[in-house]
């Protein structure tokens, strides 16, 4: 019988395992770290930030004891600066660009400094920004993820009235349902949502789904502009025999349950877990399985370490947490025993002379009590196909530089658009840019 159960740990261990991965900096640490910043000209870190936060400026403000001002610098570019400080893969963004890598292989810890400033601000302020006089214009935002929230906040600042329609029962998008629990502790996602809405002028209609309760045509008729921040709704299938066997779960859903469960000891996890995939979701699922008490967790990825969507830093984090990463294996079949999963058969892969991934015929069997699928999410176009057509490209919504879709009066951003990096900070930038474009259009 497969060994899947909840409550593998002592009660006290759950709290410990799901506390902050990177404990916040104290005041002393923050000042010491801020001293390391060179206040670079045309700062490479800022150029690497999708939301272009003026990093040297906010760090300088921390150094001079002006922590509130530091946070304001951050929020003026990125209203979700608090969440981004927690979830951004800084090692591939600002911190990778920091000149201190060249100097001594140790970037300024920008993410932690950003968290220091934004935490300080959220502890003292209910909102950021002052709204411009009311314009009388109304904008509909669909989806209350990072893209939708950033768009709504910027529009509210400009004096527009915003209504966010969110299919789920609460706002936050993947910040609330997807991000690893140890990255957004203490219900931070909801605190941040409240902080963003605190500016005023934004109404959230939760439980209202586009395509089910409302239509795009209806929104276009009732509002002056529409922003779509729908995210990705489906997960890719493995396409192998036995995929439907009990014990094979979708990693995103499994994480969602984990995030939504106030008591982590209620979440079932296998003794031996095999996670299939190579991105951030795979790493998050694997680490959290380990933190729930799984004995043996393996990430199985069809290519090499360099090709993994998860950064080298995240791969290392997985390994430090006791997760094994197996490269160059492609799933072929889920092996069941009785009605439950028992193992996964993989074929060893390699690159042929043409550089294409091919099977080698050599098989590997990994015993498993639970299998998690984490091979990517896809956009579901259904909700936007209601007579009006929004053009797609590579399966996602096509947008121009200002985040306009093919349909006049409709903008889109975040994971649901083509060419995104599927990062929170990217979604924030899209939302903000769309808002500025909407504002420019409405003011014309």
């Amino acid at each position: 019988m497969p060994d899947i159960s909840a409550g593998r740990l002592d009660a006290a261990d759950y709290g410990k395992n799901f506390s902050d991965v990177h404990p916040p900096l104290g005041a002393h640490e923050a000042v010491v770290e801020s001293d390391r910043c060179y206040f670079c000209f045309d700062a490479p870190c800022t150029n690497a930030c999708p939301t272009s936060i003026d990093i040297p400026m906010f760090i300088r403000k921390i150094g001079t004891g002006n922590v509130v001002g530091a946070a304001e610098t951050i929020f003026s570019s990125n209203i979700l600066g608090g969440m981004c400080a927690r979830v951004c893969p800084t090692e591939t963004l600002c911190e990778e660009a920091c000149v201190r890598n060249l100097a001594e292989d140790k970037p300024v810890r920008i993410g932690l400094l950003q968290r220091y400033a934004t935490d300080h601000y959220l502890d003292r302020h209910a909102a950021y920004g002052v709204r411009a006089p009311a314009t009388g214009r109304k904008v509909a935002v669909v989806g209350a993820g990072p893209a939708g929230l950033a768009c709504a906040h910027e529009l509210a600042l400009k004096g527009h009235e915003v209504t966010i329609f969110e299919a789920r029962g609460k706002a936050g998008g993947l910040n609330e349902f997807g991000i690893a629990a140890y990255k957004a502790t203490d219900d931070f996602a909801q605190r941040e949502v409240d902080f963003i809405l605190g500016v005023g002028g934004i109404t959230v209609e939760a439980g209202k789904a586009l395509g089910r309760d409302i239509t795009l045509a209806g929104l276009k008729a009732d509002f002056d502009a529409v922003f779509l921040g729908l995210g990705l709704q489906a997960v890719n299938a493995l396409g192998v025999e036995g995929e439907e066997t009990a014990g094979v779960v979708d990693a995103v859903r499994w994480i969602e349950n984990l995030r939504q469960s106030p008591d982590k000891s209620e979440i079932e996890v296998g003794a031996r877990v095999v996670v299939i995939g190579g991105g951030m979701t795979a790493v998050d699922a694997a680490i959290q399985a380990k933190k729930l008490g799984a004995d043996d967790v393996t990430i199985a990825y069809r290519r090499g370490a360099a090709e993994m969507g998860a950064s080298p830093y995240e791969q290392e984090l997985a390994q430090v947490n006791g997760v094994r990463i197996l490269h160059w294996v492609a799933p072929k079949a889920v092996v069941s025993e009785g009605n439950a999963v028992a193992a996964v058969d993989f074929e060893r892969t390699a690159l042929n002379e043409a550089g294409r991934l091919v099977g080698t015929g050599r098989m590997v069997r990994l015993a498993a009590d639970q299998v998690m699928k984490a091979i990517g999410q896809t956009f579901v176009a259904g909700p936007i196909e209601d007579g009006e057509t929004v053009a797609l490209e590579s399966g996602r919504i096509a947008v121009d530089e200002d985040m306009r879709t093919s349909l006049a009066g409709v903008w889109a951003g975040g994971d649901c658009v083509r060419g995104g990096e599927d990062l929170t900070v990217q979604a924030v930038d899209h939302g903000k840019r769309a808002a500025l474009s909407i504002h420019a259009t409405l003011s014309a």
């Binding site: 000042v31 010491v32 001293d35 060179y38 206040f39 670079c40 000209f41 045309d42 700062a43 490479p44 000149v99 201190r100 060249l102 100097a103």
Partner: protein
């Protein structure tokens, strides 16, 4: 290995590192710990007449910090010793007896009457101390009572008191100078005229280190009020070095022995003072920051430096920089240098660019062919050295002298081989025509 032994006015010490008259030398306990740690000598915390002065009971120090809270400058409102004279004299006697190979100089400050100086000197003589240092420098508290810097700011008083003291004792007399004057040469010349054997400098600089922006009072704050204090520590070193240099090159005081004080933290700081002619150096803030142990680094570093340069004694390099001290007007205007960036060391922070672009001569690129790249444009560079100073990587930007005969791309003129200065420059209205 280099021999660090010094003989300053006949006072011998195993190395030139003395502790300046200050809290670290206030009592036997500290001084013996310092000797044990390796310090070559001490100047005992300034003695005065009984009844002893009293210090404030609130904070007496304030500071400014550089990056990482490194103490850059210290300010104090402490007075001279607040212990009874008798106790200090007894301890001085005991310490000198127990540590005969170390220098022990006693600092003094009494009211400006010959009788007062005579009587305290007589008592110091009985301790067996090696010399006395006249504290004409303390800028706070004591100066309000007509002592310290209020004497040190009047050359005639310095000369007078120095003369009394020389007449009253067999011991060498060192006059400690205050920097709180406009031209340090006047008090130094006065000390020499009065017969002083040496000068030591600098004492602390009048200062307010900070203002508390909640209570609106100077720091350190005593019950809501503050007064100016004396500033010392690494931040004052450049000021002190200049004053030492002025005395070292002044024809009237040339050759007068100097004990250098001000911001010395490392062997390098000490070596710089010695290169400007100092026979010994004195340290206060650095030990108040790091403790006595730093002298190990100073001794070893100085020895390594001397060995590396083939100097076997301190005298071998003492004063070597004096001959290179010059008036601005004699600097060679035909010496032309250009900044050069070592691309292998450059970390591309852009500080050099923005400094030169915003405040200097627009001589450093930031983008070349669409790539972030910092390079000096020789045709714009005036050789000012600002970029070198703001670059975070030591040695990344260097100033390279142009060879005579080559063409300076900035002016289009050939770099002359011969020396020429302002005194003969055509733009100088009072230029003396070169014959």
């Amino acid at each position: 290995m280099a021999d660090l032994r010094t003989n300053f006015l006949g006072i011998k010490s195993p190395n030139p590192f003395w502790l300046a008259s200050a809290p670290p030398t206030d009592k036997k306990y500290n001084v013996e710990r310092a000797y044990r740690a390796g310090w070559g000598g001490v100047v005992w915390k300034t003695l005065g007449e009984d009844p002893a002065v009293v210090n404030v009971n609130g904070p007496r120090y304030g500071a400014i910090h550089a990056g990482d809270r490194r103490l850059a400058g210290l300010n104090n409102i402490e007075l001279i010793t607040d212990r009874p004279l008798e106790l200090n004299l007894r301890e001085i006697t005991e310490v000198k007896k127990a540590w005969p190979d170390r220098a022990l100089v006693v600092s003094l400050m009494v009211p400006c009457e010959e009788q007062n100086w005579n009587s305290i000197i007589a008592r110091v003589e009985e301790t067996g101390a090696d010399g006395i240092e006249l504290n004409f420098g303390c800028p706070h508290g004591m100066s309000e009572r007509g002592m310290g810097s209020s004497v040190g700011q009047v050359p005639e008083y310095i000369e007078m008191v120095a003369r009394w003291c020389k007449a009253a004792t067999r011991m060498p007399v060192i006059v400690k100078l205050t920097p709180n004057i406009t031209d340090i040469r006047y008090p130094a010349r006065a000390a020499k005229r009065g017969g002083a054997d040496a000068v030591s400098l600098i004492n602390t600089i009048n200062s307010i280190v900070a203002v508390d922006l909640d209570s609106f009072a100077p720091v350190p704050t005593i019950d809501g009020k503050g007064s100016h204090g004396g500033y010392c520590g690494p931040a004052v070193k450049p000021i002190a070095l200049n004053m030492v240099a002025e005395i070292a090159r002044d024809p009237e005081t040339f050759g007068l022995p100097i004990s250098g004080i001000g911001g010395i933290e490392t062997w390098r700081d000490a070596a710089e003072y010695i290169a400007l002619g100092c026979g010994t150096v004195q340290v206060c803030t650095a030990v108040m920051t790091y403790g006595f142990k730093i002298v190990e680094e100073m001794i070893d570093g100085l020895k390594q430096y001397m060995d590396g340069h083939g100097f076997s004694t301190i005298e071998d390099f003492r004063g070597l920089a004096v001959k290179n001290l010059s008036d601005w007007k004699y600097l060679n205007l035909n010496y032309i240098a250009k900044a050069k960036i070592d691309q292998d060391l450059c970390i591309k922070c852009g500080r050099c660019h923005i400094a030169c672009e915003d405040t200097s001569h627009q001589a450093i690129t930031h983008m070349v062919d669409g790539i972030r790249h910092f390079e000096v444009k020789d045709e714009e560079c005036v050789g000012c050295n600002l970029c070198v100073n703001v670059c975070p990587v030591d040695g990344c930007i260097t100033m390279e002298a142009m060879t005579p005969g080559s063409v300076d791309p900035r002016t289009g003129k050939v770099v002359p081989a011969q020396y020429a200065n302002w005194t003969t420059h055509p733009n100088n209205p009072s230029a003396v025509a070169a014959e």
